[in-house]
Amino acid sequence: MKLRKSAAAAAVVAALALTATACGGEEGTAGDKPKDPTGGKNAPKLPTYDVKSDVKVDSSVLKKAQKAGKIVIGAKDDQPYLGFKDSAGKRSGFDIEIAKMVAADLGFKPDQIEFKTIDSGVRETTISKGDVDLYVGTYTINDERKKQVGFAGPYFMAGADLLVRADEKDITGPDTVKGKKVCSIVGSTPLQEIKKSKYGAKTVELAKYSECVQQLINKEVDAVTTDDAILKGYAAQQPKALKVVEKPFTKEPYGVGMSKDDKALRDAIADAIEAHQKNGDYKKAYDATLGLSKSKYTEPPALERY
């Protein structure tokens, strides 16, 4: 009996030790708040958006939201400076800002937006079921998805890129990864691309980007690949340790997702994005989020209206 007790105790201690080491990552694990690398004083400020009143759009989704007095927007919560939710429940990032500016033009104040975290795999289902009115979260416009949902945009032209350690000399673009270990999340399109023989990278697939970034910092892998917007967010979080190569090798036009045949709402949102790009809000939002990664600002892509 005595023997058993001590064995159990030893096991518990060992298990706890394992847990501690497994979670005891350095800065930059998923739960951390994005840090302000510029010291706060002279950091670019987030813009505020003028909320329109008496918005009239012939869209059932919008009418329902106006009646309810709130708009439900799907987003990501694990991408620093892009679509992030800190431990206090506050959301921040470039996609969140896009959601706010669009909502303002539809007549909703920031406190009238209800953000919902939606996993990539169920975006189409959630939008077509009407569980969210809009979706803003690194949502690449493509034909397969257009069969199921509608898109306003593109509001940002992302592309698959590489995130490397700041002192990396050898990896300067997708052509320099032959034999190198590149990490991304399971099933991601950029990874399928970089696997191809013309690039010839060795790949590692994990469940979360934060795990990949951890592996990169631990020098277990040499690079992380996915859309540059997501990578810039991680580089903004740790500008001293990480940098984005800035040689995109695919095109990922991001759009705002909504129900499939709501043309009126689609046009209203496209108008909203255009207006905020013209009045400078868009660039301010970028500078205060992804811009902190030292990656250069590029002009937004032309909107596609259909």
Partner: protein, 215 residues
């Protein structure tokens, strides 16, 4: 519906990946589990303690945590340089071996003590007693729980898909990322798992029949 036909090559690769990982882990877990069960019924206290500690630790730790440990914690201390598949094999085998050990031990406990005593009185060693008298009789009792354990292992192997191993579940991730309807993907993946798990339960049923004896 067409998603399976259009991407059958990847589906097959994932299916084979799951089967291969399951089979390899099962074999290793079975060997480890039987050895550990031997430890736990042996007359040597340190071995008994080792077996008990192993079971307590690995049976009570979530599998995902074990995966995270071998990926993120172990290399910090000592970098073995294992590839992802080997890591998955180690974790799945070690985790499942603790369950196998307990099933085998319960099977050993069903063999009447008189059998072991008779063997000892004939002058057999511990290993001879275990190997020729006790284990063959225990096997029959152990088959049903073992079948459940290996079916659980098949499904657990999906976690390896989140750690860089090509298997069925990863196929679903790849295609849902490209925007295919998720319901169909899940259906095909579920069918893939069903084929494997049905095969396992079928095999065990055959084994049970062939080992049946009148008691």
């Amino acid at each position: 519906m067409n998603v399976l036909l259009d991407h059958f090559a990847e589906f097959r690769e994932g299916f084979i990946g799951t089967v291969w990982l399951t089979v390899a882990s099962s074999v290793l877990a079975l060997i480890l589990g039987v050895v550990l069960a031997g430890f736990r019924v042996s007359p040597v206290p340190p071995l008994r303690f080792f077996g008990a500690a192993w079971v307590t630790l690995f049976r009570n730790t979530p599998l995902t945590l074990l995966f995270l440990t071998i990926w993120f914690a172990v290399p910090q201390v000592f970098d073995f340089g294992f590839d992802p598949w080997t890591k998955a094999l180690i974790v799945l085998s070690v985790y499942t071996s603790s369950f196998v050990c307990e099933a085998v031990r319960s099977g050993i406990n069903t063999v009447p003590l008189g059998q072991a005593e008779a063997a000892r009185s004939l002058g057999m060693t511990f290993f001879q007693t275990l190997g020729t008298i006790v284990l063959p009789q225990a096997v029959r009792t152990v088959l049903p729980p073992l079948s459940s354990i290996f079916i659980a292992l098949t499904k657990n192997s999906a976690i390896a898909g989140a750690f860089s191993v090509t298997e069925l579940f990863g196929w679903q991730k790849v295609l849902s990322d490209q925007g295919f309807a998720i319901a169909w993907l899940f259906l095909w993946v579920a069918l893939g798992y069903l084929v494997i798990t049905f095969t396992i339960s079928g095999l065990f049923r055959l084994l049970e029949r062939s080992l049946e004896v009148a008691r």
